[in-house]
Amino acid sequence: MLPGRQPSERDQTMRLTFLAPALLLIAVFIYWPLIYTFVLAFHQWNLTSSEMRFVGLTNFSGLLDSPIFDAALKNTAIYIVGSIPLKVLFPLFIALAIWVVSPRRGIVYKSAIFLPTLMSFVVVSLLWMWLLNPLVGIGNSVMAMLGLRLPPLLSSPDTALWTILAISAWKIMGFNMLLYLAGLASVNRDQIEAMRLDGAGDVALFRYLIWPTLSPTTFFVLIVTVIFSIQQVFTPIDILTHGGPSNSTTNLFYMVYQYAFQSFNIGYGAAGTVLIFAIIFVVTAVKMRILESRVHYQ
């Protein structure tokens, strides 16, 4: 149907027919579990029992009182805030550095930096676990050559979270860099030349041309990174620390897994999921309201 023409009844039927399979899948695998999670959040259930008891808001109050929740909430905030420089800003500067070198050299750098993105996070976690073994890891051997000693980064509650954050940043850096490079491809070279002729330096070029052009990409990377920062660190947490030591690396997502699929306290797990949903919803809405006005779409 061409734009401007009023859709006929047949067009409407066709639209619905084409949309139906996708809508059905979304309804079954997204909306129904979402609704059912809300129902479970108000019940006490251990998954295997046929008995499910309505408990009102008890799961929420119990969850909020539990010491693991405080640790998970605080750590989630650190994972999100710490991700911004590491996963949003750092890849931007790497993309800029690659953008200015020759295409042939750029391909080499791009490939090298993108490689970790292609690896499974399980493999990445195991790899770092052995690299960071403070007694027999390669990291320790390198430090020993410098006369230093590798601290137990993953076993200390002071450093374990930051180590996981750094590993997840290393893994995602190449992907975000590629998104920025795609955004940089739309920077108008003629405008750069014109600005240069007018005497603009690198800083001015970045501030008045590149940064505004990249703002939709940055906005996308920011939203995805925040969501990933809650979800994506699940694998390294599970493989490297199991949320420890002393709950120092757990986050809300891992806490839900612990309650739902280790303790089989489905009510707590569902209540935690509802809280995560609310947090992501609010954070994304706030970001869209505040940041979207500053994004420049061409």
Binding site: Q44, W45, N46, L47, T48, S49, E51, R53, M129, N133, P134, L135, V136, P152, L154, S155, S156, P157, H242, G244, P245, S246, N247, S248, Q258, F261, Q262, S263, F264, N265
Partner: protein
């Protein structure tokens, strides 16, 4: 023509489904775990031997992480596809009976007469409310492994390993000072058996005599936990690493003493060949407290809900209960031989002649006491709290006197809140 083709496809599909279900009916799904490659190989050998004897039955073994194995069984049960047999830690028996519909072994067509092949105390470990649920399979005991070569290098006598924790501190310090290597790794924070072993070896009672509440935070329990924390926080002799990293370090000759389950004995001895001399001794005593140690490990439970599949599962358990098979599991790993009168088997005496360190494990069987079973259906939460206590001590979140009573309070509180 088109209809004929369609009909052919339908018939082919139906046959393949039927063939698939026929195959599935003669398949035993088996979830197990292993703490060393030797253990996994021993299980694979036992499966192969069973399949050879029963060519019409296929055992589909899945090697799992022991920390998530119970959860995987429960989720598979909810999905209507539980494994027929699962390897379960003894402290989880009540949880798996109450929450995962484990089948009592007495339901076996022959009444599980083969359970009499096991030493009575190991049979008792697998009982719940008067019924047998757990076939004894892999029960270990804590041992102290030590690097004799490092001891010599540090000016210590490799024939006099530490007999108590004071001596352990002195010798580990000497190794660290003289060789630059790490001193000791004793009981990590990877599972609750570590907490149990420290407490029981220190003379504490984990549960009340009625078995309905936790009582470990008494004078002896706190003293034992403090001794363990001091190793790391006061003396700086125990590096903050995971058990897996510690084993790798010990195998690489970078660690003086490594205290963990006998399940790793054969693997450690084999690995050390040609690298360094490895010694094995009893776990150091806490002061003058006579040594008592809980068993580690697990047994096998039946989870299949279908009577036909249960028959095959029981057949598999019968095969594993035979003395030759349980002794093979012990000799290939270092787990205790769980069969009646194991010492009458010449394979044990032959093995001791070849691997003298194995005799230390046999000696330690005398001091083994049953690992306590957690009451109620919140075993997983209790396990997490037990592990969390060691985690908090290692992280320096407080002293044992500050942390143990609070952990005990939370465990008792959890017991009062059933999951259903």
């Amino acid at each position: 023509m088109a209809m004929t083709t369609v009909r052919k496809w339908v018939v082919a599909f139906a046959l393949s489904v039927l063939a698939g279900s026929a195959h599935a009916a003669n398949e035993i799904s088996f979830y197990y775990y292993s703490v060393s490659p030797n253990n996994a190989k021993a299980v694979e050998d036992l499966i192969a031997a069973f399949e050879k004897e029963n060519p019409d039955i296929k055992v589909k073994g899945s090697n799992k992480d022991y920390r998530t194995l119970n959860a995987e069984i429960k989720t598979a049960l909810v999905a209507g596809n539980p494994p027929d047999v699962g390897q379960i830690l003894t402290q989880s028996i009540s949880d798996m009976v109450l929450n995962a519909r484990a089948i009592p072994l007495e339901k076996s067509p022959d009444g599980a007469k083969w359970m009499e092949r096991f030493y009575p105390s190991f049979r008792t470990l697998g009982q719940f409310k008067g019924q047998n649920y757990l076939l004894p399979f892999t029960h270990g005991v804590a041992l102290m492994y030590y690097n004799k070569s490092l001891m010599k290098e540090a000016g210590l006598s490799p024939d006099s390993p530490p007999a108590n924790w004071d001596e352990l501190v002195k010798q580990a310090q000497q190794i660290k000072d003289k060789t630059g290597k790490e001193g000791v790794f004793a009981f990590g924070t990877d599972n609750d058996w570590n907490t149990q072993t420290i407490l029981i070896a220190g003379g504490a009672n984990i549960l009340s005599p009625e078995g309905d509440r936790f009582t470990f935070a008494d004078e002896k329990g706190i003293a034992a936990l403090q001794t363990w924390q001091d190793l790391s926080k006061k003396y700086g002799l125990m590096p903050s690493i995971t058990t897996r990293q510690a084993l790798a370090a010990f195998n690489a000759g970078q660690l003086g003493f490594y205290i963990y389950t006998s399940a790793q004995l054969v693997g450690i001895v084999n690995n050390a060949k040609g690298n360094f001399d490895v010694g094995v001794a009893a776990v150091p005593r806490f002061g003058s407290e006579p040594l008592k140690l809980p068993n580690s490990g697990s047994g096998l439970m039946v989870f299949s809900q279908d009577p036909e599949r249960q028959k095959n599962a029981f057949k598999f358990l019968e095969s594993l209960s035979r003395p030759e098979n349980s002794i093979k599991m012990s000799l290939d790993s270092g787990y205790m031989p769980v069969t009646m009168d194991p010492m009458s088997d010449p394979r044990i005496t032959d093995f001791v002649a070849k691997v003298p360190q194995y005799s230390v494990m046999l000696d330690q069987m005398k001091v083994v006491v049953p690992k306590p079973q957690y009451p109620g259906d919140r075993a997983v939460d209790i396990q997490n709290l037990m592990v969390g206590l060691l985690d908090d001590l290692l992280a320096g979140r407080g002293t044992a006197a500050e942390l143990a009573p609070e952990a005990q309070r939370r465990m008792n509180e959890t017991l009062g809140q059933p999951a259903k």
